[in-house]
């Protein structure tokens, strides 16, 4: 781990990003734990749970953590640049293509189907995230899942206020009776 230089870190995360169609995390685990052995499996889980309790995409946070431990802020910068750079360029190109050809009937037809499937993907992600919580502590989790959904999804209330109302209460409950 100590031997990793910013350039290596950049290239490793670049490779992770480009493989990560439909979810980067499995590829990150394979590269960082199995192939490079920069993290032990336990390190990986612990670092990931730290990253999950912070705002921002987990995988971007993970790259910051791995980079920081290898060589400070230069490592973090290299890791994020590797992870974010190429996908941003690709998605801008896709956006430009959509802007050029999005008016074509064929493209519009395909996009309609694509958008419906993409919505289904998010339902599945939400269900996967909900499952362990509901199994372990339905009583303390369900009200907050439902509260967040109704307030933001159904009533379209601004997110900052909803978080300010729900999160402290939920955290206080977890503080009193740890899961």
């Amino acid at each position: 781990m100590a031997a990793a230089r910013p350039r290596t870190i950049f290239l490793v995360f670049l490779a992770i990003a480009l493989q990560g169609f439909g979810g980067v995390l499995p590829f990150a685990r394979r590269a960082l734990v199995d192939r490079r052995a920069w993290l032990t499996p336990d390190d990986f889980n612990e670092t990931l749970s730290l990253c999950q309790s912070l705002p921002g995409p987990n995988i971007v946070n993970l790259s910051i953590a791995v980079g920081a431990r290898a060589c400070g802020w230069r490592g973090s910068l290299a890791a994020v640049a590797g992870l974010v750079g190429a996908p941003v360029v690709i998605v801008i190109i896709l956006g430009v293509l959509y802007g050029q050809f999005g008016g074509l009937q064929l493209v519009q037809r395909a996009i309609i189907g694509l958008a419906a499937a993409a919505a289904g993907l998010v339902i599945a992600t939400a269900a996967r995230m909900a499952e362990p919580l509901l199994k372990r502590r339905a009583l303390t989790a369900a009200p907050f899942i439902l509260g967040g959904f109704v307030a933001v999804g159904v009533f379209r209330l601004p997110l900052p206020y909803v978080l300010l109302a729900l999160a402290p209460l939920s955290i206080a409950i977890m503080w009193k009776r740890p899961a």
Binding site: G22, S53, V91, R109, G113, G120, M129, V152, P158
Partner: protein, 180 residues
């Protein structure tokens, strides 16, 4: 192209705030991104948003790419870069600082409580995102069926979700969902 400074400023402010609220990643803040870009700023329609989200999902990389595309739609390439930087920078700085602090003091009970407390709220927000996207994307029962099938396949099997996206796009090409 001249730079649209007011839009760039709005993008920077909006996404750097969302960056710090995005517990669980960009999927948790989709409803807020949607509200700001469709209802508040009128950068795009509901349908545009669903299309951009679909494009972001089918590109490789982390799932915050919807912010890149919203920035692009609002103010071109400069908008894309500003939105991306704003979506990443605050949470990255926070994480960098938190990792340093974490490696100094291990196992603080407050950290566990915050993580466990925020988790169910985050799940509720991801369900909200799904709801917003369903409302934008599913204009007929056939499209609803595609959404439901994708959700079931991805939830119950280990199939790479890209296959579902590709299949739905191909189905769309045949015209079974109509043309907008």
């Amino acid at each position: 192209m001249s730079l649209a400074w007011p839009i760039l400023r709005a993008l920077a402010v909006q996404f750097s705030l969302l960056s710090l609220l995005a517990f669980g990643g960009a999927n948790a803040v989709i409803p807020e991104i949607h509200r700001q870009s469709v209802a508040v700023h009128h950068w795009m329609t509901d349908k545009d948003f669903a299309a951009l989200f679909a494009i972001a999902q089918s590109a490789p990389g982390p799932n915050f790419l919807i912010s890149t595309l919203v920035g692009w739609k609002a103010a071109g390439i400069p908008g894309a870069l500003v939105a991306t930087a704003a979506m990443c920078s605050p949470s990255c700085l926070l994480t960098f600082w938190a990792v340093k602090a974490w490696d100094r003091h291990h196992d603080h009970p407050w950290r566990t409580a915050i993580g466990a407390g925020i988790a169910p709220v985050t799940v509720g927000l991801v369900f909200s995102s799904a709801y917003v996207l369903v409302r934008a994307a599913d204009s007929s029962w056939r499209l609803g069926l595609v959404t439901a099938a994708t959700a079931a396949i991805v939830y119950f099997t280990k199939l790479n979700p890209l296959w579902c996206l590709a299949a739905a796009a191909l189905l769309g090409l045949t015209g079974v969902f109509g043309t907008p």
